[in-house]
């Protein structure tokens, strides 16, 4: 496989990756269908922003946000069923059951643990022990600027954490198992080892104060942009959106079986961060996974970072200790 040169790198020399928007297929069919799949993403994002900006205080609360989130996911799940991007990514009963297990784990066990050792808990403890106050000057800024700041601070941190996971072996051990997914669907973002899910959820936002409504707006913006990352639906995403935001296409390149391609598109929401740091690859991939597409069981997802880490330690230091003893 020849691959395509992107900057200093050859993308797609080990596994198929389509590089360049001009080579990515577009939604075809009736004008209504094309119109729908072209404007769906911007219209939803705009509607979410308008709703949370103007909703009265009696409605602007977390429970409503959860309800909207669940409803929107249900709509996208139905769209995956009727308009799959790739037939090879279709949902099956087993995939659904396994993926929902990880989603459930996130909402229950991991949520409980994060109450004790999550970034908010740790930052709260640090502020108390060091007797420092949150930076509160953001609160005087316009709501939308605050909402952008919340999402950007988190995404910028996530970019570096994610990039670190692909460049530093101990972190890669925790993240690697997520890369064994062989298809995308609405739930795939939740699949991974709990240690990785904990690490990727760390953020510095707790050091800053924002208005409560800004958090709701930030949640809506994150959902309106980030929910498509692992989605099995094709959209005719507008060029400006693809330039600014991470898309299914970008993230599928990141999950391809091509090593160089996996080291791209690290941001969760704002792909312009990747553009700034030279790690963005515009394109898409259908063949995903590691080790030629071997599927990992839940047991392996949970244990592999530890077993592989232990084996690596043993092979590196165990042998050295043995030689020294001789």
């Amino acid at each position: 496989m020849a691959g395509v040169r992107v900057g200093n790198r050859i993308i797609g020399s080990e596994a198929p990756v389509t590089v360049g928007w001009e080579n990515v297929p577009r939604v075809e069919g009736s004008p209504l269908k094309v119109l729908f799949f072209t404007w769906f993403q911007p219209v939803v994002l705009f509607a979410l922003i308008i709703f949370w900006y103007y909703a009265p205080n009696s409605i602007a609360k977390a429970s409503v946000a959860i309800g909207i989130g669940l409803g929107f996911r249900a709509i996208l799940f139905a769209m995956e069923w009727y308009f799959p991007r790739h037939q090879g990514w279709n949902i099956t009963w087993k995939e659904l059951a396994v993926d929902l297990f990880y989603v459930g784990l996130g909402y229950t066990f991991l949520d409980t643990i994060e109450g004790f050792i999550g970034s908010d808990a740790l930052i709260g403890l640090a502020k108390e022990k060091l007797d420092i106050e949150s930076v509160d000057w953001f609160m005087g800024l316009p709501l939308l600027v605050q909402a952008f700041a919340i999402t950007f601070i988190f995404d910028f941190g996530q970019y570096w954490m994610h990039r670190g996971m692909h460049n530093w072996y101990p972190l890669w051990l925790t993240h690697k198992v997520h890369h064994y997914i062989t298809q995308f669907n609405i739930f795939k973002g939740a699949v991974g080892n709990p240690v990785e899910l904990f690490l990727i959820g760390l953020g510095l936002g707790g050091f800053f104060d924002f208005l409560p409504r800004a958090f709701l707006l930030a949640g809506a913006i994150s959902m309106g942009i980030g929910i498509y990352m692992h989605l099995n639906v094709r959209f005719n995403t507008p060029a400006w959106w693809r330039y600014l935001f991470n898309t299914t296409e970008h993230h599928s390149v990141h999950h391809s079986q091509d090593y160089e391609a996996t080291r791209s598109n690290f941001a969760g929401l704002y792909v312009f961060i990747d553009r700034i740091f030279g790690t963005c690859v515009d394109g898409e991939a259908e063949i995903l996974g590691q080790e030629g597409g071997r599927r990992l069981s839940i047991r392996e997802q949970m244990l592999q970072p530890f077993t592989e880490g232990w084996q690596t330690l043993r092979s590196r230091y165990g042998r050295a200790a043995g030689v020294a003893a001789e």
């Binding site: 900006y53 009963w93 929902l100 459930g104 229950t108 316009p142 709501l143 599927r295």
Partner: protein, 232 residues
Amino acid sequence: MASTVPTGPEAAIAASPSPLRHFDWIWRVRGEVDLPEDQSADVALDRLTPLFHATGTSHERGPATLYFTKKDPAAQDRMAIYNAGLLQVDEVPGRRVLRYELTSHALLACFLAPLLFIAFGQLAITAETYQRAQAEAAEKAEKAKKKDAKADKKKDEAKEFPRNPIDVALGAPPPKSKKEIKAEKEKKKKEPPSATPAWVFAGIFALLYLIGRFLEARLVNRLFARTLRAPS
């Protein structure tokens, strides 16, 4: 061709220990499909064999039997939920039937998953009770510390959330007052600790199990029947 009593690895599938036999329907799918008229056992199994050429699948043929195992099957493998199975062609008066017995760890895990989520729910309630007690103790200590600093307290209460002129001009609703937020927090404190997500997921997995147990049994029966009857 008449079936023989399985020996070797397939014996493990065919003979469940008797106490398990009563409830192994939880993770085992049994069924049968009539063979087309005049189709021999060898021809039937020859037709079915390509189904077991999938990634991660190995199989063994015996006289009128086929035993398979699967490890890490691909997501789109149509029999991905099964770990092992025995297919056997039997002679019954006037016809031949394919009988099968398939084992699924995925079904068993899904059946047990509600218990796991109920345990997570209990854990969440215990954790929340503990955190509330800790927060209450910390609040009391803080109050005692600030008893003399009444002026600071008044100053804190008076300080409301700022509002940017752009938001005022665009008509965004004013932020809730600190008093309102405090009242909401107090109200929440009085509610008992809840673990709603855990109960919801326990319910989801119970439902998923029921769907999977019936749907997958139907799908595999249809797969075998269609494969046997497909024009050669």
